[in-house]
């Protein structure tokens, strides 16, 4: 598609180019305007400057919008490859005053513990149907569990997911999810589990959603956190629930720092867990020196990852690893694939045109879980 044909260019040549023309244009188009691999971001209002703010690696954090001559409409055309999903905000300057906010012309929002942002679906991106509520899918049950953890020195809260048709006489694999509350809230993980189990894509699985205390202390290679998982939570669950209770039926899942927590727990107990799901793991490392650029929170991470890279260890049979190509962490994640493989672990690595976001991690769940615990599709012949 040539630039001349873009909707914004047609508007530019409109005569007269006045407020009514802009009104008609906005009424006709969904914003951002997606035309092939071109996405036109828009903001309307009075300001001295305006930007689109996003965190795509390789692009400036703030990209200026241009004012459409004679109007109060600002625009920016970005090339976004097919299948991209980009979270962004608009920032404006009026005199000395700066303001950042979600795109008022776009209703699509992405949510996280840090707040919300606008989201642009480039051509080819579709929200998977299995993340949406399916009335046909029988719902699993969420139960609260509180465990006094000596390792963590606090009560550990766990949200326990029992699949629909849970039977004490059956035998279930276990998935332990770091940042469990966020996975439930921002990655729709209960709905996802209900749907994927209903569709036979994923085995009926018991899932322990753990809730961290101070995650910046507990997740980056913490011995206490690992002890909690392996010596407290696991025995409690395996003694009270009909779980497989073997390495092949135990999996740790985590994203970002949670990925480091999962890896480090398996590292400390290499015979315990059969699988790991590591999404956008914060596997920051240095090849020389100590300047990793991640700030003090990453110091223990870098120390751990450097040690792991120097002497890779088989800590699980299989690793599902994913990362968004627009993330800062894409290079560290790519760099870890061969490290994991060199230790004798089977790795399934996928990339998405997405960022460090809960919806990226949500969208990877089908691929990850159906690989780690494949559903019984193969056994059903109706």
């Amino acid at each position: 598609m040539t630039a001349a044909r873009l909707a914004i260019n047609r508007l530019r040549s409109a005569k007269p180019l006045d407020a009514e023309a802009v009104d008609r244009f906005l009424a006709r188009h969904e914003v951002p305007v997606v035309e092939g691999d071109r996405c036109t971001f828009l903001w309307r209002g009075e300001a001295d400057e305006a930007w689109v703010c996003q965190r795509i690696v390789g692009l400036p954090d703030r990209i200026p919008l241009r004012r459409l001559h004679g109007t109060d409409l600002w625009y920016l055309v970005l090339e976004l490859p097919e299948g991209s999903r980009v979270e962004y905000q608009i920032e404006i300057r009026r005199g000395e005053h700066y303001e950042r906010f979600n795109d008022p012309l776009n209703e699509k929002r992405s949510h996280s513990p840090m707040g919300s942002s606008s989201v642009c679906f480039a051509a080819g991106y579709e929200t998977p149907d299995w993340v949406l509520h399916d009335p046909e899918a029988r719902p699993g049950e969420l139960r609260d569990l509180v465990l006094r953890s000596r390792a963590l020195g606090r009560d550990a809260h766990v949200s326990l997911y029992l699949p629909a048709r849970f039977r004490p006489t059956a035998s279930y694999p276990l998935l332990v999810v770091h940042d469990g509350g966020d996975f439930l809230q921002y990655a729709s993980m209960k709905t996802v589990l209900d749907n994927l189990i209903h569709r036979l894509d994923v085995a009926e699985t018991v899932v322990a959603f753990t809730h961290p205390g101070d995650r910046l202390a507990e997740y980056p290679n913490s011995a206490a956190h690992s002890r909690f998982l392996t010596q407290e939570l696991l025995p409690e669950l395996e003694s009270s629930l009909p779980l497989v209770g073997q390495r092949a039926g135990r999996c740790l899942l985590g994203s970002s720092f949670g990925g480091v927590a999962a890896l480090s727990a398996a590292y400390r107990s290499p015979d315990t867990y059969g699988s790991l799901v590591l999404m956008s793991g914060s596997f920051v490392f240095t090849d020389i020196g100590t300047d990793h650029g991640g700030g003090p929170a990453f110091d223990p991470v870098v120390k751990f990852v450097n040690r792991f890279r120097a002497k890779p260890r088989c800590v699980a049979d299989r690793i599902y690893q994913s990362c968004g190509v627009y993330e800062q962490l894409i290079v560290p994640n790519r760099s870890m694939v061969h490290v994991f493989e060199s230790a004798g672990m089977q790795v399934r690595y996928t990339e998405a045109r997405d960022g460090h976001s809960w919806e990226n991690w949500r969208d990877r769940l089908r691929d990850a879980l159906s690989w780690v615990y494949p559903g019984p599709q193969k056994l059903y012949y109706e």
Binding site: R165, T169, L196, D367, P374, K378
Partner: protein
């Protein structure tokens, strides 16, 4: 006496009533839909198709649940047995993956001497056949050891159900076995000792048809995690000899990938890979012989009628 057997394609558009009518079945019909698991009791439609008041559900899944509730010791043992079988299956899959990769690698070699390549390919396939055969044998060993240890015929909860099932089968003119979860179906067919008491006629489809063969083969090239290995799962009842049944073949297999399908057919030879797609009806002849119009996967990977395969 060997029952007369009719295998059907998936019953999304049911043909069961017409099939039973064409077979002249007028007496009691025993129905097994244990593959539907918890939905076993939703049987109004299948019973109506199977003859209405003449049809009765053997309720094998419900009986199995009864056993597990009534006999916790057996339930625990069976659960442990299942875990052992699962582990063996996983270890088999690891070995199978390598063996099939070897087949693919040999088949994909360009150039070279055609005869040499054909010999190497045949040897690679023979290794896969050996792997499949030893896997089934190991599974059978484990089953035999389990049954020898836990002697279900002497456990009250199981023996009572077996006796009831035997009585219902003895009175039936025909047994209808529906599809569903082939693992659970096999388990209950074995547990309640159905095989020795088969009535004179059998009609089965999908998982039900698979359960009648000597080897149950699982396949799904379009699963969520991508094309998976076609794997031997366990021994079936073996009343349909020399056949590997492939229900929903066109939906589940990459049937246009002829090299892949060729490996499938040659791997299970001399057994025939029988395609049971929608609308298919296969009336087996004496000794389980396939009719000439049965649709089979040929050595070249193409699906053709039996005479041409």
């Amino acid at each position: 006496m060997t029952p007369s057997i009719t295998l059907l394609g998936p019953q999304r558009r049911p043909t069961l009533d017409r099939v039973l009518s064409s077979l002249g079945v007028e007496g009691p019909v025993a129905v097994v839909n244990a593959g539907w698991q918890e939905r076993e009791a939703d049987d109004a439609e299948i019973l109506a198709l199977a003859g209405g008041e003449r049809a009765g559900n053997l309720r094998l899944f419900g009986r199995w649940m009864d056993v597990l509730r009534a006999d916790p010791e057996y339930a625990a043992a069976e659960r442990e047995h299942r875990l052992v079988l699962d582990e063996l299956q996983q270890l088999y899959l690891i070995r199978l993956d390598h063996a099939l990769q070897a087949v693919s690698a040999v088949a994909a070699r360009p150039d070279g001497h055609a005869n040499t390549q054909a010999m190497a390919l045949e040897d690679a396939l023979a290794a896969v056949r050996l792997l499949d055969a030893t896997h089934v044998a190991r599974m059978q060993e484990l089953h035999a050891a389990f049954y020898a240890t836990w002697r279900p015929e002497e456990r009250g909860s199981i023996a009572g159900h077996r006796e009831e099932v035997r009585g219902l089968l003895a009175a039936a003119e025909c047994l209808v076995v529906a599809g569903g979860h082939v693992g659970d179906l096999l388990r209950v067919l074995h547990l309640f000792h159905v095989s020795p008491h088969l009535p004179p006629r059998l009609v089965a489809w999908s998982a039900g048809a698979m359960a009648l063969t000597p080897r149950v083969v699982l396949f799904h090239d379009r699963a969520a995690q991508g094309a998976s290995l076609t794997e031997v799962f366990d021994a079936g009842l073996g009343v349909v000899p020399g056949v590997v049944v492939l229900p929903h073949a066109r939906r589940r297999l990459l049937t246009d990938d002829h090299p892949r399908m060729s490996v499938l057919a040659r791997r299970f030879a001399p057994a025939s890979c029988l395609v049971l797609d929608d609308g298919v009806r296969v009336d087996l002849g004496a000794g389980g012989a396939l009719p000439p119009d049965a649709r089979l996967v040929g050595d070249d990977g193409r699906i053709t009628e039996g005479a041409a395969a």
